[in-house]
């Protein structure tokens, strides 16, 4: 028996979590603010911010700019939240991403000691995410943000990352990104084919909202006769909130191109583009390899309802889409058997943006320019959803029967790994170099609107 459909209070939820802003904005800036003044003073500034925060309510007309706010564990304390309340947040959030670097695979060239200044040091307190369509609006919004901080005093930006959409909504290795997202009950049920939980007979169902927003039933609540809600921080902070993972990932595009071009010389299954598609699990335009193993589908459109409607159970030997391909690792769907039971509780909502100027087509020499992806995800549990995927599915291969093989795209800091491209015969892609390096990151909490008001008032406990 299904429970009555939950009604989400959209006014209480910040925007871009369940309701995506999509590719409506070309520019996104992430500004990490450090609070150096006493909590009361900080809260005065915070109140001013909160007035302008964009909620999840549907738009009549698209706002010129949007503002969203998140806080770190240190940020909660800086805003005057009591230790007793701070302790009700999750352990991994309290420890912070830098402390957990080892388990995330942030070692060698990705280790926190090498991160950009301001990230992972405990200085970041409040993250302001600003989206804008036009450059002038973007600059103006950033200007207003600075002014408000100057007026308040005792605040400074410890790290800022500006990002901009690339043409075709691609990321820097050339692949269409961001269009495959979980289907959440009551929100985007139309995306359930492909975005939801794969069930028997080809059906799909949407995920419970509590997997992504606290204060609502999650997948476990379904099985609970007492309908208990998932663990959340103490009221009023928990309700309509979510945890956020933010990571700056540098991408070595020149290295990626060189390694694939070299390896392709020995690959008998096609050219470098085919080999790259095998690594990712999609063609650059987004066509899934498992449905189109030989070439992309000219009619593929990422915004189509059934764009993501595919499964792996017809390709268990990985001959169409390699078992270790990036998208197959990050969302195995039904590939692990048991009707998706091993995968359905590890989904994330991703809202990242590429940063930096593209490396011109065909260039295989590094130009020392900073480019890559700002990875952003929202989930009810950082450890169950983000960290488990990172550790068990991306940085290891046991669950897929791939030994210690890691996701080839993310690379290996020691340059030692390989990837098996299944076939007749198989091809071994090596060496696995450090294509992606972590330049810094934070674990944050995105409070709901009434929680933000409580933080601003000093009534968060």
């Amino acid at each position: 028996m299904t429970a009555a459909r939950t009604q989400i209070d959209l006014r209480d939820l910040q925007g871009d979590i369940l309701r995506a802003y999509g590719n409506a904005y070309d520019h996104t800036s992430y500004a990490f603010v450090h609070i150096g003044c006493p909590p009361e003073q900080a809260r005065a500034w915070f109140s001013g911010l909160v007035e302008h925060v964009t909620t999840a309510e549907p738009w009549q007309s698209k706002p010129v700019t949007t503002l969203n706010v998140a806080v770190t564990a240190a940020g909660l304390a800086a805003l005057g939240v009591s230790e007793a309340v701070v302790k009700t947040f999750s352990k991994e959030f309290l420890q912070g991403m830098a402390t957990r670097a080892q388990r995330l695979g942030d070692v060698g060239s990705s280790e926190p000691a090498g991160w950009e200044k301001g990230l992972g040091s405990g200085e970041a307190h409040v993250l302001l995410t600003i989206n804008a369509q036009e450059t002038e609006d973007h600059q103006r919004a950033l200007g207003l943000m600075s002014e408000a901080m100057d007026d308040a005093g005792g605040l400074r930006i410890v790290f800022q990352q500006d990002t901009a959409l690339l043409q075709g909504a691609r990321e820097h290795f050339g692949y269409a990104d961001g269009f495959a997202q979980p289907a959440v009950e009551g929100f985007n049920d139309d995306k359930a084919p492909g975005g939801g939980v794969p069930e028997k007979d080809g059906r799909w169902r949407s995920l419970a909202p509590g997997e992504f927003v606290l204060g609502y039933p999650d997948e476990d609540t379904r099985d609970d006769p007492k309908h208990r809600l998932p663990t959340a921080p103490a009221a009023p902070l928990g309700r309509s909130g979510t945890y956020m993972v933010w990571r700056k990932l540098y991408q070595d595009v020149a290295l990626w191109r060189r390694v694939l071009a070299d390896a392709a010389k020995l690959y008998k299954g096609g050219d470098a583009d085919k080999l790259a598609a095998k690594v990712v699990g999609r063609w650059p335009d987004g066509t899934p390899l498992v449905t189109h193993p030989d070439k992309p589908d000219p009619s593929f459109d990422a915004t189509m309802r059934h764009a993501n409607d595919f499964r792996y159970s017809g390709d268990l030997d990985g001959r169409r889409c390699p078992i270790g391909a990036h998208i197959r690792r990050s969302n195995p769907r039904d590939a692990l058997g048991f009707e998706g039971a091993l995968t359905f509780r590890h989904r994330m909502i991703r809202r990242g943006m590429p940063y930096g100027t593209p490396l011109a087509d065909g260039v295989t020499k590094d130009d020392r320019s900073d480019r890559g992806l700002v990875f952003v995800s929202f989930q009810a549990s950082i450890s169950r959803q983000f960290e488990a995927v990172q550790m068990q599915w991306l940085n290891d291969g046991n669950i897929f029967g791939l030994g210690h093989d890691k996701d080839f795209v993310l690379g290996d800091p020691h340059g030692k790994g390989k990837m098996t491209i299944e076939g007749d015969p198989p091809f071994f892609l090596a060496p696995q170099e450090a294509f992606v390096k972590t330049r810094g990151g934070e674990y944050l909490f995105v409070p709901g609107m009434s929680a933000l008001a409580a933080l601003a008032d000093g009534t968060a406990g």
Partner: protein, 186 residues
């Protein structure tokens, strides 16, 4: 009599000994066991037929009021559990264990009631067997493989993967030569 065959899966055997800890010794025993990691490789690495093993101190049997257990059933005296997943015949394994762990056994089982004064050899073996708890159900994923076979084949797998990666593109003659050198030279 306990059902001995329930302890077997393939050629693997599940052994467990539960021994009472001498009063006042529980802290010292806990600290000693925890410190083993700091001193270097585990002493169990000297008992080559051991796949996986553990020492666990059980101070009491857990119980919460919500369980509605009518009577109390606390362990009168804390126990030390030693559990090992091993290869082959139990008696010869215990002989090897009691020999190899001679340096450590006095600090471990020596702190348990009823342990023979010297904590080694045949007397220690009899003590452990006296306190054995049989398996009810024992599961081994690869019960037919011994420790040495597991190690040898893991190494061979690494070797073959490295070989397969570097020999892509070789001619048949080169390939055969390289393969023979790597795997069949004898």
């Amino acid at each position: 009599m306990p059902v001995r065959s329930a302890n077997r899966s393939g050629q693997a055997y599940g052994f467990l000994a539960m021994t009472p800890i001498k009063p006042g010794e529980i802290e010292a025993l806990q600290q000693y066991l925890e410190s083993l990691r700091e001193r270097g490789p585990s002493p169990l690495s000297r008992v080559s037929r051991t796949h996986m093993a553990r020492w666990v101190i059980v101070p009491k049997f857990h119980r919460k009021p919500a369980y509605r257990q009518r009577k109390d059933d606390m362990l009168e005296i804390p126990s030390l559990i030693f559990s090992s997943n091993l290869d082959g015949d139990l008696d010869s394994y215990l002989d090897e264990l009691c020999e190899a762990l001679a340096p450590e056994a006095p600090e471990i089982w020596g702190r348990c009631i009823g342990c023979p004064p010297e904590a080694k050899g045949a007397a220690l073996k009899e003590y452990l067997k006296f306190n054995q708890v049989d398996c009810g159900f024992f599961y081994a994923a690869y019960g037919q493989a011994t420790v040495s076979k597991v190690r040898r084949t893991l190494e061979q797998r690494d070797q073959l993967v490295a070989f397969a990666v570097r020999s892509q593109g070789l001619s048949p003659e080169e390939l055969q030569g390289a393969f023979v050198e790597e795997f069949a030279a004898s």
